[in-house]
Symmetry: C2
Subunit: 497 residues, 2 copies
């Protein structure tokens, strides 16, 4: 039975590899005249994969294995994980699922239009239908952890609930909101003009390759390509690719994008090979995955020690306007923080506030008193309250993200959880690696990655997110470590004391 | 019924797109640690595709449509073509087909070893099994056109028989063999040293892109990448890719490789969009496909007029050793012809002789008195007879090509047919485009491609190879046109009077 289960899963893995490559190619260089057919092909293979993943045979194997004793830990979690996915997929009546796919596809194209025209009313009926459909689906799945929204949350971050999020987000917000205010009012703003001078793409490319190598990314098991929205994609066990974007008037997009995706890739490249071909051969959760990309982006890439080691090399690629900039001024510039309207452009300090706003709105939509029609007003009020800025139209407000149009509710919190987890890992790592900064300033990333591999990467999805967190750090979710780190870093950078 | 037939074929097309991309990626840049799993994935999807293509449902639809009247010409030929493929696949008992796949995979790896060690005895038992299995398969398919070998030939070049090949190949051989001898004994050998100087890859790349654009290759519906063995691959209707190889000590590999693959790509890019999604949306035969690549490689790319227009541009990319070479010396060098041992390195003049040798051996194996064990001796004797050279070992003799190890018998003649067809098209084109050379020397390729599109490309596989030939040229296979062209060209180049 175990063998048959592995075989079906193996087949699903093959379909996933094909779909991933078709997608990667589309985003990195496929010619535009082939795009329509390409989308159809991805659609066809996705339907085939969906049919496999909801087949009676697969369901029976899972049910049988759930009753079986003596399974290895990896196999037992694989069966659990497969069961969770199977229930999610198979409990929705196929006709309703198809309707939902059509709805999201329509909603995404309407959303694009609405965003461009800053016209929420255009998108509103679609969003209402999406919320209604999602509620209906939760009915099929059964409510988990006491509320509709908890059920959704659990799909992305198994075991995490609104009770926990309210507590840690509150803890964090109480300390960050005043800090953001202080900083934006500080007289000690960094000089940043030199960041925006022309920086040729090929030089950025060469530096990005260098940085990936220094971080320990294995180019024999991956590659780096250019795209519009950077992403990491695991094509197969030995082929984990990263992509980045080159903005010739702001090199930070490419460099920090590359480092961020490298964090995701190192996770995938370091999952124990014993899990190969099993449903647990992947990240533990969206949030844990994001913690690894953010760990590298923030704790490594935006760290003084990292640049002490890499700045000379950076200058060898950088254009003239950088050549007279001392490393300390460079560090202040790349760590500039300020309240802003757009999530994907937000800095390390304000990012979590953008997420909290989305989280509160989603929770209110599914569990509280919010209605879709009230979202623009609520959004703008919260931005004013938390960040001190107010969107002038919905295009830079409630319409900025695609997630809701794709029917993804409960996903946003994982971004902030990534920050929280990362800060907690960093705090715990300090015990085992007290010379963290010295390692970075001498270019030694390997011991840091080895710690993360031991505590996080190698386990794949054998452990759930909170298990990983608790075993690695000895405590559960705690917003103080992130707040401590941000306070210390930004008070120093903005000379607030 | 027509709709269902289209739908199944559409699904098969999606699988083909995925498999093609997985293959393309493997040959152009996939990281090596992912290769084993990649092969498995290709294997899994290929099995799924095979199952679809031999399904009872598909067979019944084909059988039903064969009885239906009033089908469009494209649909009628699609049903015929689908039926042909279906019979080929479905008549082999699945267990035997699986055994055959395993056998070819083993034979290919043993062949690699045997070639390296120049040890035919190692490969012999596998080749014997492959011949035996192929004979058995012909038994399932039923003998076509009177002989086992004709049955195989018909799979690659529908309608062409050994009777025709013996006649045209004989006609051609009678005129080329003495010409090759005269040339190799001529005192007027071209100066070629400058060809082998270092030519940086990036410069070759830039020139290759230029040439593709000048030939009318549509970069919005394709791309050019680097590989070890150049190929063209149609990923989908709007995505027809070419690959080439850069040899820094012989630029001809890249330039003529690119032009050759461009010929294949122009064919695919110019098939009528009305055939989109049908089984006839592809080339008419291997030989007709090859005629298009060879037309561009030889009649365009090795043509004096082409270089009169392109030489200055070439020199702008070429390294110093070319700068003092007059275009006429350049032309003599790139058209150097001489007897040689290796098919894939052979020139335009001797290439067909390499093919005839393989053809005669294959025919003898399946229809005549040859046995596998006698192939090395027969091979060497024929090389001596036709080309005046004798391999010193089987690695540069009978073991040089992979085709037989892959179970492909009857494929080789298509290469020579490509040359014959191309020369016949060229001859016929001369009526409609008497100023062929003037067009090329002023950089106008479009009218030439338009003629080929009208006579060949747009029809896809709606017309069979000999139909295309006869309708375009007014005659059937005729070896004289190729012989005339080669005689005229090489007598002039080698100043043979």
């Amino acid at each position: 039975m175990e063998q048959q289960f592995r075989e079906i899963h193996q087949k699903m893995t093959s379909y996933n590899e094909a779909i991933s490559l078709l997608y990667w190619d589309m985003r990195t260089g496929a010619p535009k005249k082939g795009m329509d057919l390409r989308s159809e092909t991805i659609g066809t293979l996705s339907s085939e994969l969906f049919a496999l993943s909801t087949s009676e045979q697969y369901g029976e194997l899972i049910a049988g294995l759930k009753l079986q004793t003596g399974l290895s830990a990896a196999m037992q979690r694989s069966v659990e994980e497969a069961d969770r996915q199977y229930q999610l997929n198979a409990k929705i009546p196929p006709a309703e699922y198809r309707e939902f796919v059509v709805l999201t596809s329509k909603a995404e194209s309407i959303w694009e239009q609405a965003k461009e025209q800053a016209d929420f009313a255009l998108f509103q009926p679609y969003l209402e239908q999406l919320v209604e459909t999602t509620r209906r689906f939760v009915g099929y799945w059964g409510v988990k952890n006491g509320s509709v929204y908890n059920t959704l949350l659990d799909q992305y971050e198994p075991g995490v609930t609104t009770e926990q999020l309210d507590q840690v987000f509150g803890q964090l917000r109480k300390r960050i909101v005043p800090l953001v205010k202080q900083i934006s009012e500080s007289a000690n703003q960094p000089e940043t003009d030199f960041l925006y001078g022309h920086f040729p793409k090929t030089a950025q490319q060469d530096f990005s390759f260098d940085v990936l190598k220094k971080l320990g990314y294995d180019f024999e098991a991956g590659r780096l390509d250019e795209t519009v929205h950077p992403f990491m994609i695991a094509i197969n066990r030995g082929d984990v690719r990263v992509t980045t974007k080159y903005d010739e008037s702001d090199f930070r997009t490419a460099v920090f994008g590359t480092i961020h995706e490298a964090g995701h890739a190192l996770y995938e490249q370091n999952i124990s090979s014993e899990l190969s071909g099993l449903p647990v051969d992947g990240g533990s959760s969206m949030g844990i995955h994001e913690s690894q990309s953010l760990f590298f982006e923030n704790f490594v890439g935006r760290n003084d020690a990292f640049w002490q080691h890499n700045y000379d090399n950076f200058l060898s690629y950088a254009p003239s306007q950088f050549q007279q900039v001392p490393v300390l001024d460079f560090l202040r510039a790349i760590n500039e923080a300020k309240p802003s309207l757009i999530r994907i452009e937000a800095d390390e300090l304000t990012y979590a506030l953008h997420i909290m706003i989305r989280y509160e709105l989603e929770k209110g939509l599914f569990d509280g008193d919010y209605e879709v029609k009230d979202l623009p007003q609520l959004w703008n009020d919260k931005y004013e309250e938390y960040l001190g800025v107010r969107p002038s139209h919905d295009g830079e407000g409630v319409l900025q993200d695609v997630h809701w149009a794709g029917g993804s509710f409960g996903y946003f919190p994982s971004y902030a959880l990534g920050l929280l987890y990362a800060a907690q890992f960093k705090k715990a790592m300090q015990q085992d690696i007290p010379n963290f900064d010295e390692l970075l300033s001498s270019g030694q990333v390997a011991p840091i990655t080895a710690w993360l591999t031991d505590k996080v990467h190698r386990h794949g999805a054998v452990k759930k997110p909170l298990e990983i967190l608790e075993e690695a750090t000895g405590e559960t979710l705690n917003g103080d470590h992130l707040a401590d780190y941000l306070e210390a870093k930004y008070k120093k950078l903005y000379q607030l004391v």
